[in-house]
């Protein structure tokens, strides 16, 4: 299948609405989860869902736009990480396409793969744009790694990977659970579902 055919298949009206809803989910779910005071943000749950249901390009677009809109409504810093969000969606979509969202344990593997791609893009942004520090609690970890004598690059790589691993694995698991719980009437509308069920 050529890329343009693939794009046409991925971007139905349904997909467009899914992306719009997913963007809102990304922004709102954090509010829901904050009640539990857990070390996860789930701020890419919508992006991962789009990746699984509608494919990598749609997932990437959902991630990219989420952070750009985030930049407009609350903090411009989020916009700087838009490429990271985009890669999360693409990685989730590719994982789903190759059948990595079929079972719960494969979903965990997907979570790890997403974290790897996430880190590859996030590390240079953190390093060159923010000097490795972004003013959050995770900075203590970077500082600790530096104090152990690691270089800045290594410290940031380890920090980004570990601080995202749990979040992305939980995100992938919940996305898997939601897709499994969706009635077939709804899932049948999306192009990516065949490789999931």
């Amino acid at each position: 299948m050529s890329i343009s055919e693939q794009l046409k298949k991925e971007f139905s009206t349904f997909t467009f609405v899914l992306i719009a809803v997913a963007i809102v989910l990304n922004i709102v779910v954090g509010q829901l989860v904050s009640l539990l005071k857990l070390p996860v943000f789930l701020d890419s749950i919508g992006t991962v869902l789009v990746g699984v249901l509608a494919g990598p390009w749609a997932g990437g677009l959902a991630g990219l736009l989420t952070n750009l809109i985030w930049g407009v409504i609350s903090s411009p810093v989020a916009a700087a990480f838009a490429p990271v969000a985009m890669v999360i969606g693409i990685a989730a979509g590719l994982c789903a396409r190759y059948g990595l969202f079929r079972t719960w344990w494969l979903a965990i593997v997907s979570g790890v793969i997403i974290t790897v791609f996430n880190s590859i893009v996030a590390v240079p942004i953190r390093l060159y744009m923010f000097g490795g520090i972004t003013g959050s609690g995770a900075d203590f970890f970077t500082a600790y790694m530096l104090a152990l004598g690691n270089d800045l690059f290594g410290s940031v790589v380890v920090m980004v990977f570990t601080s995202n691993l749990l979040d992305k694995v939980v995100t992938a698991l919940i996305a898997w659970g939601v897709v499994k719980a969706m009635p077939g009437r709804t899932t049948a509308r999306f192009p990516g579902v065949r490789s999931v069920s």
């Binding site: 467009f16 922004i27 709102v28 509010q31 810093v77 659970g177």
Partner: protein, 274 residues
């Protein structure tokens, strides 16, 4: 987009020169300011020269924000973002930056180094430039203008839908999230126990919300298709966004400079020029 309350976004109402600029012109400026702050050629022997570049850009952004009447809002936001950043960055790099050589201050085995502080200051200034330039865009562009500009630029009304509709959906979804929160709490959701007990609440909290939102998609999609979402005929906009030949040329020039900086940066970093 008529129904969007400006209070939803950071937009500050106004009639200034900056407000009247085309959103794309402002976006091009964000790109240019970032490119200059991070990549403008300065002698490597004097990293402080970059501070001058950044200070000039900051001053320019400050003046524009003042003239647009958005300066108080911008000042508050810059502080809220830059202060925690500085609070972490100055000590961490001052104490631990791997390139540290020159001691500035030492007390009881704690030594602050010059290289780390210079590095941290440079990064802070660069982030401040990028932040103030993007605030210029965010504070002085009405969300509806942004959506219209996107439609006009790419001829892509569907992309404009993706930018605009989340802004409209957000308040309703936030309310729904609050309802789910309250409902599960009323059913005895444990939000105070140990981490495992709290983690148990994750699925009952998130899953109904996600499923509910996805179930809505069908209705929304049907509503859109009925209203000609897939129509190929050109759309007319209720809202007109100003543009001028001068702005179009300015945008091209700004993008050209960005490209130049990027090429210079690649040549220097990869040593192709040497």
């Amino acid at each position: 987009m008529k129904g969007t309350s400006p209070g939803m976004t950071l937009f500050v109402e106004g009639r200034s020169f900056v407000h009247a600029l085309n959103p794309l012109t402002k976006l091009a400026w964000v790109l240019l300011a970032g490119a200059l702050a991070y990549g403008a050629p300065v002698p490597s022997s004097a990293p402080e020269a970059r501070w001058l570049v950044c200070a000039a850009l900051l001053a320019l952004d400050g003046c524009l924000l003042l003239s647009a009447g958005a300066a108080p809002r911008a000042w508050g936001l810059v502080w809220r973002i830059m202060f925690p950043l500085a609070l972490f960055m100055l000590p961490i790099h001052g104490l631990l930056y791997p390139g540290n050589r020159t001691v500035v201050w030492a007390w009881q085995g704690i030594t602050v180094h010059r290289e780390g502080l210079v590095f941290a200051m440079t990064v802070l200034l660069q982030v401040a430039v990028l932040l103030s330039a993007s605030l210029l865009f965010v504070l002085c562009t009405h969300p509806a203008d942004m959506v219209t500009a996107v439609t006009r630029a790419g001829g892509a009304p569907k992309l404009a839908f993706l930018v605009g509709s989340p802004l409209l959906m957000l308040p309703a979804m936030r309310a729904r999230a609050a309802t789910v929160q309250a409902a599960q709490r009323a059913r005895g959701l444990d939000s105070e126990g140990n981490i495992f007990k709290r983690a148990k609440g994750l699925v009952p909290l998130v899953k109904p919300f996600l499923l509910g939102a996805i179930m809505d998609i069908e209705q929304r999609a049907v509503a859109l298709e009925v209203r000609g979402f897939n129509s190929r005929s050109p759309r007319t906009a209720w809202r007109e966004v100003a543009d001028s030949p001068a702005q179009r040329w300015a945008r091209r020039a700004m993008l050209a400079v960005c490209l130049g900086v990027a090429v210079y940066w690649i040549v220097v970093k990869t040593g192709l020029g040497a």
